[in-house]
Symmetry: C2
Subunit: 170 residues, 2 copies
């Protein structure tokens, strides 16, 4: 995996600190983690700069956008892709801003379903478009064939890790 | 990127919720994020199960292991690869357990360097070996050629995203 030349990162990150005796798989994992962190950091910066919002807020709204019937809080928590946000706290704030609404049995807060409001859907779409443009720009580094191969490798990796004895899907 | 068949994940995750109209790059990013999250979750479970420790603690010790001279707190924070841990709090706990030590100017806490103790180094190595075995087992899903191609694609992606106008390395 070690390759000198133009692909060597310009700045120090976790991967460049991986020592030479580390196994290839470990180096590859650190590269995977560093790449994901880098892209996630770029998305966080974009959301802050253009929408004064955070990635956990965006993530929460994205989960709701894909669930037109709404989601119970437990399910919403499970679906979140990023850490660093308190789901109940974010939902309370978004509700106060009129971007989400809680529907159902007010007596049993856990049974309430959270749903995007029309205003929330509109706000989310603007963010999602900017987010997608940024991601498309990022992945422009790869040809369609490389993207396909990358997706294929990641899919195989994901499937394999899921089948590990004793490993539960987090 | 959509491919039915054996690679389709068995359980619902962010990727399976990506709607059909999403662009390939977006689907690929969600797959990258989901795969990283899955492996990270597996590593968290391993560390908890076998060492009753957390990923931020492991991450912090890993950064120190690669810096025999020790690191100042600011540099240590910057090098951390995972979120969810308070660097000062973790360092305090590790110091109390005799696994790290602070060296230097006690008058200026920010100038103190944190370093692994011999006991810390020993404890870290046991964790690092188990971690590496787990990672090697995970990446056994891929052939050496696929691993090389994956590393190459991730390297190109990382380099490209870094060169974005306005994007700072997080």
């Amino acid at each position: 995996m070690a390759r000198p030349g133009p692909l060597v990162p310009r700045t120090t990150d976790a991967e460049t600190r991986a020592s030479a005796r580390d196994h290839d798989a470990l180096r590859l994992w650190l590269r995977l983690l560093a790449t994901t962190n880098l892209i996630e950091g770029g998305v966080r910066a974009l959301l802050k700069r253009e929408f004064a919002t955070t990635l956990p807020r965006f993530d929460l709204m994205a989960q709701l956008e894909r669930a037109p019937e709404g989601l119970k809080m437990g399910e919403l928590s499970r679906r979140m892709m990023v850490t660093g946000g308190n789901v109940t706290g974010i939902t309370d704030l978004l509700e106060r801003e009129g971007l989400v609404t809680r529907l159902g049995d007010r007596e049993d807060r856990r049974a309430l379903r959270v749903r995007l409001t029309p205003a929330g859907r509109k706000a989310f779409r603007a963010m999602a478009e900017a987010h997608e443009r940024w991601i498309i720009r990022g992945f422009a580094a790869l040809t369609p064939a490389e993207m396909h191969a990358l997706g294929d490798s990641l899919g195989r990796l994901k499937h394999h890790v899921r089948t590990f004895e004793g490993t539960r899907t987090p």
